[in-house]
């Protein structure tokens, strides 16, 4: 493994971004960015579940809320970089693409991947979030008080 530099916060951000991307997006953006390198599976894509937890009262003791589906995989590039992916849902091609991006982000491909995969994903996520927030904001109640006549 060539995980020598501590790129944890950065890596956490890109893995999280790819986990939440809509179906097919990481595959499409990766293939548009560069040709896929050869790789070997450390863990072939597998579908499983994660138990999601909440907290009583929002802040108190944890409890089990229910599970969600997750696809995960791990692979290694010929140059030794290891890529991991955990993505939401049952999406093996997306998990494979996300693990490739994760591995390639530790190589010279970092600039092209940032520009052609991560930044577009980030922008799309921001747009989705903002659109919903703006629709919600339009349903915000503006209270006004009626003045009652006293005569």
């Amino acid at each position: 493994m060539k995980d020598t530099i501590d790129q944890t916060p950065d890596r956490k951000a890109w893995m999280s971004l790819m986990a939440k991307a809509p179906e097919g997006r990481v595959v499409a953006l990766l293939d548009a960015a560069l040709p896929r390198p050869a790789f070997t599976w450390l863990r072939a894509p597998e579908i499983g579940s994660v138990m999601v937890r909440g907290r009583a009262g929002g802040t108190g003791a944890p409890f089990n809320l229910g599970e969600m589906t997750i696809t995960r995989c791990a692979l290694t590039l010929p140059s030794g970089e290891v890529g991991h992916a955990y993505v939401q849902g049952r999406r093996k091609p997306d998990a494979e693409a996300a693990a490739l991006v994760d591995a390639l982000m530790q190589t010279d491909a970092v600039t092209v991947l940032r520009a052609k995969v991560l930044e577009p994903l980030e922008q799309e996520a921001t747009t989705r979030r903002t659109t919903r927030a703006e629709k919600a904001a339009a349903t915000k109640v503006d209270f006004f008080t009626m003045v009652r006549g006293e005569d």
Binding site: T8, R11, K12, M15, S16, A19, K20, E46, I47, G48, S49, V50, M51, V52, R53, G54, R55, A56, G57, G58, T59, G60, A61, P62, F63, N64, L65, G66, E67, M68, T69, I70, R72, A74, H84, Y86, V87, Q88, G89, R90, R129, T130, T131, R132, A133, E134, K135, A136, A137, A138, T139, K140, V141, F143
Partner: protein, 364 residues
Amino acid sequence: MYVAVKGGERAIQNAHAWLAEERRGDTSVTELSVAQIREQLALAVNRVMAEGSLYDPDLAALAIKQARGDLIEAIFLIRAYRTTLPRFGASGPVDTANMACDRRISATFKDLPGGQVLGPTFDYTHRLLDFKLAADGEVPQAPTREADPAPVPHVTGFLNREGLIEEAPHDDTTPPDLTREPLEMPADRALRLQALTRADEGFTLSMAYSTQRGYARNHAFVGELRIGTVPVEMEIPELGFAIEIGEITLTECETVNQFKGSKTEPPQFTRGYGLVFGQTERKAISMALVDRALRWEELGEDNVGAPAQDAEFVLYHADNIQATGFLEHIKLPHYVDFQSELELVRKLRREVEASQGQHQEAAE
């Protein structure tokens, strides 16, 4: 006496073939796609995810299609699928204070930071059938307004500042899991909340309604109801740090309940909590009311013998898959069981008739 019964295979196969045909319905009507169900019957999908206890909108939509719209059957399919999945781990508790809210209302405070946000609600509609929906039509775009990106604070936080409401102190105890260990009494609050969040909506609603009508009355206000998305974060052992593994929609309801105080607690407001997968408002409010009713013991309240206070009654009857499994099994062949019952009744009848015959003889 054992009687081996064979010969149902062909009938069963043919029944299932007919089921498939009936599921499809009139072939001159366009077939429904799973994506259409996911997008256009989203609240049914949400219910199936919540009670199926598995967040996956595509799977829930498929289950609804397969079940011909029978939501309990669809929940059954999801529960069965869920058991085939390897469990990768558990997430960290979701942070609902940082929810990206589609809807957020409070029945206790009119003016509050973050405001009253109605979201895509049925409230204030006139409940008149809209015949325009029967015709194909373009939907006008929903209006937008500039949004404040700041997180929306929890209403209970304001009351906490005055010390007027019971606190929910931070705790990191690993919760019990009823999908791994059978549900046993006494059930702590974490276990009760897990059972309630996957409980049947109708049952939970009726239990909650019973508390409002006076059975274990605890006078609930909806302190806050919020619907929106939260990221789900999990520690990845092979990486040594946590990443977000997805984003889910949740409905959260916090009730604020009148409480005169008890031997152990000062007069203050107490809390009920509901948190459910998807946009599932009726269920989340119901869950919060039932959660509060079940907390009588830890708050030092009296048990007035109300059904909603009886954890064993509520939790053992709340799961619609357990209930329907046991209920519906009685329609399956019980020929041998029934044969022995029949023998018994005939024997009792013979005995009764014989003794009546003796009485008659004695009388003559």
